[in-house]
């Protein structure tokens, strides 16, 4: 890390500490109501209880399961439909209007419908995460295939390459780079789907805990849960970035 970068990190960390200290001070002085804005120490205590007491893990597990299953299914569905639409014009005529509509609306409004159809268990969360991810990936693949550099395809043909080589050497890597461009957003979407699904109706998961905290007016628990979700998503972003850097290293030169 360069000294300049380190100084910048120190400044940012310092600013955050000052903010937290001010909040704590205001709360201790009685200027803000701890019922609405619990001080950082209270939030910290709740966090420690959640983590150390082991209450968090089953809920975290449920959300992870729904998010990752939704991410995986959404990727598969998005890639399959994207390729189908890009390579077969009749499929595109069929899919494009639906996808454009789904892309235009806030897809989380489908959550109540999925609960009615699939119940309050895992299936409805998975379905919501899948829809969120699949639409995003569909457009990444659809555009990726259509934006393939025709010169590269020609080059391969003059070297004697048939369809198999064109797909393997041009289409797949080109589409991969598009999909990875959307991958971080997809991870975020998968979590949004899982948590919002749980929020609407469920018996476990981080969204369920949030819903519980809100219905009991427990601001400290709410803030603690928001922090947990932020930490999880940031951690996943970092992982996604490493995978992306590795797979797209020809780009980061």
């Amino acid at each position: 890390m360069t000294p300049r970068r380190r100084a910048s990190m120190v400044r940012r960390g310092g600013a955050l500490l000052v903010l937290l200290a001010a909040w704590e001070g205001l709360s201790a002085a009685g200027w803000v109501d701890p019922f609405y804005a619990p001080p950082p120490t209270a939030v910290g205590q709740v966090l420690v209880t959640l983590v150390a007491g082991g209450d968090l893990w089953p809920h975290l597990g449920a959300t992870f399961l729904a998010a990752f299953a939704g991410l995986a299914v959404g990727l598969v569905v998005g890639v399959a439909l994207g390729f189908a639409a890009a390579l077969a014009p009749p499929v595109a005529d069929l899919l494009e209007p639906v996808m454009i509509l789904l892309n235009a609306i806030p897809r989380v409004i489908l959550a109540p419908l999925f609960v009615i159809w699939l119940g309050i268990g895992l299936a409805s969360k998975l379905a919501l995460a899948t829809v969120l991810v699949a639409v995003l990936i569909f457009f990444a693949v659809y555009n990726g295939v259509r934006e393939v550099d025709p010169r590269l395809v020609e080059r391969l043909r003059t070297l004697g390459g048939g369809r198999r080589f064109v797909v393997q050497e041009v289409y797949v890597p080109s589409v991969t780079s598009w999909v990875f461009g959307s991958f971080k957003v997809a991870v975020g979407f998968a979590f949004t789907g899982a948590v919002v699904g749980e929020f609407v109706a469920s018996s476990r998961g981080l969204g369920y805990l949030l819903q519980f905290a809100q219905s009991t007016y427990n601001a400290a628990l709410t803030i603690a849960l928001i922090l947990v979700i932020m930490a999880v998503v940031l951690g996943l972003f970092a992982c996604a970035e490493r995978v992306e850097r590795r797979l797209l290293r020809w780009r980061h030169l």
């Binding site: 550099d149 010169r151 590269l152 020609e154 080059r155 391969l156 043909r157 003059t158 070297l159 004697g160 390459g161 048939g162 080589f165 050497e169 041009v170 890597p173 080109s174 780079s177 797209l248 290293r249 020809w250 780009r251 030169l253």
Partner: protein, 268 residues
């Protein structure tokens, strides 16, 4: 080696080129010159089956796998290493990947790029990318080499050097070449025969010239050969007789008497 007869190429039924006849003998280095945008490239695209002609035929004495095509731009696969790009054609020909990689390395070192195998195209200069594109084509050991203004984007020094390397290889392998360019000096210094394409629409070949400079050639020395200047002028005249504007650097048009004498000389 290559015979093109009565070729017409165009888009939407309207020919931009018509009645193109071209004969390239085995071992001959032929060049097609013409103004930019005259459709020269389409002729190469028809020969390599990338474009369907309106009329006409192409006859080749070799199979399609013996034809190498060096494009104007060096569009390499950006997501593959230099080695993989060079080995591409070999893999397509079902050479095992270790063997293909080994041969790719060999070609890279022949073209002065030893040790660059693990890089990606984005890490190379324009001249280096061009060498990779050349290695990619030559690694397949083509017998007929088609080139579409391959050096247009390079600076003069790199261009001269790469042209010389390619000429040496052509000489060694007795390759048959069809080069397409708008650069008259490049055309003369490299080739045995120059075919001049006229202006469109319905452009056709306006004249053909033999280059009386012995092979093997040194690019720079060919320019000093006594036959070079007069041929350059005639090519200029042929091209300028159409619609080309007379720029300040254009050679003066020769007097009619001088032209008649030159035509006489050309006939003999």
């Amino acid at each position: 080696m290559l015979r093109v007869s009565g070729l017409a190429v165009g888009f939407g039924g309207e020919p931009i080129l018509d009645g193109i006849d071209l004969d390239v003998a085995a071992g001959e280095f032929a060049t097609l010159v013409g103004p930019s945008g005259s459709g020269k490239t389409s002729i190469l695209r028809v020969i390599t089956d990338l474009l369907e002609p309106l009329r006409g035929t192409v006859e080749l004495d070799v199979g399609p796998r013996d034809v190498g095509f060096l494009f104007q731009d060096d569009a390499l696969l950006p997501w593959r290493t230099v080695r993989h790009n060079v080995a591409l054609g070999l893999r397509i020909r079902e050479v095992s990947s270790s063997d293909a990689d080994e041969r790719a390395e060999h070609w890279l070192s022949l073209l002065g790029l030893a040790g660059f195998g693990d890089r990606y195209p984005a890490q190379l200069s324009g001249g280096q990318r061009k060498r990779v594109a050349i290695a990619q084509v030559l690694a397949l050991r083509p017998r007929l080499l088609l080139m579409d203004e391959p050096f247009a984007a390079l600076d003069a020094i790199v261009r001269t050097r790469i042209t010389q390397e390619l000429l040496d290889w052509v000489e060694r392998e007795r390759l048959t070449v069809l080069l397409v360019t708008h650069d008259l000096e490049e055309a003369i210094s490299a080739s045995d025969a120059v075919h001049v394409l006229g202006h469109g629409p319905r452009a056709t070949i306006r004249s053909r010239h033999r280059v009386a400079i012995p092979r093997p050639r040194r690019v720079l020395e060919a320019r000093g050969h006594p036959a070079f200047g007069p041929l350059l002028r005639r090519l200029w005249d042929d091209l300028a007789a159409g619609k080309l504007p007379q720029g300040p650097n254009a050679p003066a048009r020769p007097e009619p008497r001088e032209r008649a004498a030159r035509a006489e000389a050309a006939r003999s």
